[in-house]
Amino acid sequence: MQATPHAGYAGNHDHHSHGHPTGLMRWVTTTNHKDIGTMYLWFSFVMFLVGGAMSLILRAELFSPGLQYVSPEFYNQMLTLHALIMVFGAIMPAFVGFANWMIPMMIGASDMAFARMNNWSFWLLPPAAILLTTSIFVPGGAAGTGWTMYPPLSIQMGMGMDMAIFAVHILGMSSIMGSINIVTTILNMRTPGMTLMKMPLFCWTWLVTAFLLIASMPILAGAVTMLLTDRHFGTSFFAAAGGGDPVLFQHIFWFFGHPEVYIIALPAFGVVSHVIPAFSRKPLFGYVSMVYAIAAIGLISFFVWAHHMYVTGIPLTGQLYFMYATMLIAVPTGVKVFNWVTTMWRGSLTFETPMLFALGFLVLFTIGGLTGLVLAMTAVDIQLQDTYYVVAHFHYVMVAGALFSAYAGLYFWLPKWTGRMYSEGLGKLHFWLSIIFFNVAFFPQHFLGLAGMPRRVPDYAQQFADFNVISGIGAFGFGFSQLLVLVVIFQALKSGEKASSRPWDGAHGLEWTVPSPAPYHTFEDPPPFNQAEAHG
């Protein structure tokens, strides 16, 4: 994950005659998309460990009934921060990191369109992370509302809530800037001959994702700003005492929140659409239908928000509409799943670590999608709302979906980034530990939810004890096996085999035409683009 500047390479260009700043200042001032991508990835991994540690506090508390280690207030704060940090601090920056590293290399561009703004979008993240994590220590503690920040509770919380609101503002700005950068890069900087419909799918998923971010992030920023003025400036957007309606916040939040789900999922789809063809040694099946499916998912995601709100008293007509609209999303998603499966059909498959993670993604994401369909049904959801079934559902799509796909991408492109092969044994160990412990942790939660165990409560009735023990063992196993990633990376950097420019014989795309590790500057002249490298 380290883009070492190659003095010889950079020295060829007279505008580098002053040399790079070194040490810390190199990273603070860098405008190089590879440096910034690396920083995004490391940042997201650190936040992933922080958010993961918080979830282990939750699982430790839930290991047996009754209150053991933490107070209910602290439990609520941990689950809120766990969610906010994982969504905004880990998963989203991880895929922005992939976008920074890979999009310019995939489309044959020399860098992102706005290199300086790129630097700024990254460096906004650490202050937001500091605001979120240090809010634990202020009087009243961190926000304990859940990541959804529903009023009236969010209007009554202490200053930890304000810190969370400001963190969301900063993260939103960073995301919008990053997205503007990505859209401009993709639209204006493709190498000649690469039309939009010949573009690698990862770029397509990010193009749609960036549009979703640009349209939905201001909604979230505005909603939390309205919370802020309700809290401090006497407005009553959501405060019922002054004539506001708390349910309005839920509408606004989920109008952002549902596209957010696909903001996380689409880039994951993009990565998998590169990994599966590479290890099937076949072109991706149904490229055009994939592109339309991505666009359809992005579009429909703005019209299904109230399926999170079936129990708020929305009318039956509304419930029916949102139920059918939600189920409609399963159609383009199903198209994608079938295309991935058909890509593998009669391929010469091999099962290196990236492929294993992509297959893990495929199986588990489909399970998560299926439980999503169950939850889409109004009549069923009224029973399952706010139970562990929901927790199991979104961890299957977020962890097994987004995280596994990020790991697939990490193992897939690590040789390109570092110039070294990782240890296949360690990688496979990481995969098998992850997939086993993940299922041990989250599969029992379906049963807990069906039996009626409510989420966001630190205590539970005796009959839920056994499944919670299993889930706890899985969570700790999963958490600690993620540390293996560090071992894999440092082992590769230290003693990994040297990687060729195309270490995967089935991989296609412009990124594999440059040497490994990728030089500090690539494609200063647009590369020739031919059909052989299209549709990775």
Partner: protein, 201 residues
């Protein structure tokens, strides 16, 4: 910042995409951001209007369910104030007024400490008729907690309440009377009377 790093690498062979083209894309994307913010800013009003127009969701239901279906009727309210040992000058700014049941009433009481020492005490309400007290719902009252008055301090203090619509029909006049009791120095702040007063009765 080092200028060599901030300038994007030379794009000698690239058919130069003019900066203007980039600017056009950014302008379009920023207009989406602004559009989103505008869309959000009309939401509170639009939401209410849409709910009213379509009848799909009854926003004001919560408020209406809270009040009973009994139609409001006018009731005469009388206000009274006494000081238990005459240490304070205590009177309402309004002696009497007519209000409808369910309507929020706002009355100010004036207290003056005539003594040369600090007085700590609490006002305890009583009602006439006594059983009407159950229908007086106080949203805010100076009687909820103990008050401390500096020597010769004058203070105006509000009580905000409403009469429930369930008020028995025969009651046409309700008297709200406060008596100010001085708390003996050294008494605990959460005396039983304070707790009783805080419950709004």
């Amino acid at each position: 910042m080092n200028p060599t790093l901030t300038s994007p690498p030379a794009t000698s062979g690239r058919p130069r995409r003019p900066a203007r083209s980039n600017r056009r894309v950014v302008a379009a994307l920023l207009s989406v951001v602004v559009g989103s913010l505008l869309f959000l800013s009309v939401q509170p009003r639009f939401y209410k209007a849409f709910c009213d127009w379509s009848g799909l969701y009854d926003i004001d239901r919560a408020q209406r369910v809270a009040v009973s279906s009994i139609p409001p009727r006018p009731v005469t309210l009388e206000f009274d104030a006494n000081s238990h040992d005459g240490s304070l000058r205590f009177r309402p700014e309004t002696a009497t007024l007519t209000a409808k049941t369910g309507e929020i009433v706002h009355v100010v009481y004036r207290i003056e400490n005539t003594l040369n020492r600090t007085v700590v005490g609490q006002a305890i309400p009583s009602y006439g008729p006594q059983y009407a007290g159950a229908y007086v719902k106080k949203l805010d009252c100076f009687c909820f907690k103990q008050q401390t008055f500096a020597p010769h301090e004058v203070r105006e203090m509000p009580v905000v309440f409403l009469l429930e619509q369930g008020l028995p029909e025969e009651v046409n006049t309700v008297t709200l009377s406060y008596t100010f009791f001085e708390v003996p120095s050294g008494a605990a702040t959460s005396s039983p009377t304070a707790t009783a007063a805080a419950s709004g009765k």
